[in-house]
Amino acid sequence: MRQVSRGDRDAFAAVMAVHAPTIERFALRLLLQRQRAEEVLQETMLKAWREAARYNSDRARLSTWLHQIAHNLCVDILRRQSHEQPLTENADAIIGSEESPEDALLTQEGHRQFTTAISALSQRHRTALVLTYYQSLPNRDTAQIMGISIRALESLLVRARRELRTILEESP
């Protein structure tokens, strides 16, 4: 990042090659909208470029710092769109399709159910779950991204998993 802060485009491209897919998946799972997720990725990377000199490796890993930027952008979007369309309408848009048609159909049904269930969680519950479970970040990093203590994170995770289990059990 030191090289990036000196305006090295190649170094920045190398950073993005490593982190962009992870950040996009994170935004996709939080927002459940491909277009918005891509916007968040673009914004995150541009902000990382602009603020590269402010990055301090003693305070956070690069991955954590990028997640923190993306998280703040996602929270802003979710706040703005809380009164717009429900998230479940976007379930189909983020499903992968590199399978046989039969498998894809079964997977898509499972995806749709799961996406509906996870979109019913509150934004904070979903964020805690996505960062810990899918982004595979250590609990300390996840707590740092969300600006909470590790105890508070664990409490959020317990409630999120409990709520998700209930929703999945109640769904047909």
């Binding site: 802060s5 305006g7 485009r9 920045f12 491209a13 993005m16 962009a20 897919p21 996009e24 998946r25 996709l28 799972r29 491909r34 997720a37 891509e38 990725l41 673009q42 990377m45 541009l46 470029w49 602009r50 603020e51 590269a52 000199a53 402010r54 983020i94 499903i95 992968g96 399709s97 590199e98 997977t107 499972g110 995806h111 799961f114 996406t115 996870i118 779950l129 810990t132 479970y133 899918y134 595979s136 250590p138 609990n139 590790i150 994170l153 664990e154 409490s155 995770l157 317990v158 998993r161 409990r162 998700l164 289990r165 999945l168």
Partner: protein, 149 residues
């Protein structure tokens, strides 16, 4: 077998809380408590039952795959100015402006706006007095004098 302090300090309640929060996969458990969890799992059937319940939710979570587009991020042709460059640009602008000045001249240049403000303030005092007079006559109009023939 060697037992560390952290292994012996882990209570069943804490172990259950870890499973409830992080699920059944040891890779997601807090690193410092991982070994103690494994030890406790070997000893406690209750904890193993809890782990199995957590694993069933994990298998649902594992199904949720999303497809990112590898090509979705394209490095723009012209990236915006970096903040550090922006700051350097401001510093160099100030240097360009103050470049020919030396020592006391720079101090005088910096003090000039303060002096201008001070004298402007003094000027303003008179204006306030004038306003006070205007306000006085506005609130106390001169009575109309009429003459009786």
């Amino acid at each position: 077998m060697k037992t560390s302090d952290s292994q012996s300090a882990l209570s069943l309640e804490r172990a259950i809380a870890i499973l409830d929060a992080y699920g059944a996969s040891p890779a997601r458990w807090p690193k410092a408590e991982r070994d103690a969890m494994q030890m406790l799992l070997m000893r406690s059937p209750q904890l193993r039952a809890h782990r199995d319940a957590a694993a069933s939710l994990d298998s649902s979570l594992d199904l949720w795959d999303v497809q990112e587009r590898a090509h979705s991020f394209l490095l723009p042709e012209s990236l915006p100015l970096q903040r550090i460059q922006e700051q350097q640009w401001r510093v160099s602008l100030i240097d360009d402006l103050l470049g020919p000045l030396v020592g006391w001249q720079r101090l005088a240049f910096a003090a000039a706006p303060i002096m201008i403000g001070f004298f402007w303030g003094l000027q303003g005092t008179n204006a306030i007095e004038d306003w006070s007079a205007a306000e006085f006559y506005l609130l106390n109009p001169i009575p109309e004098v009429t003459f009786n023939d």
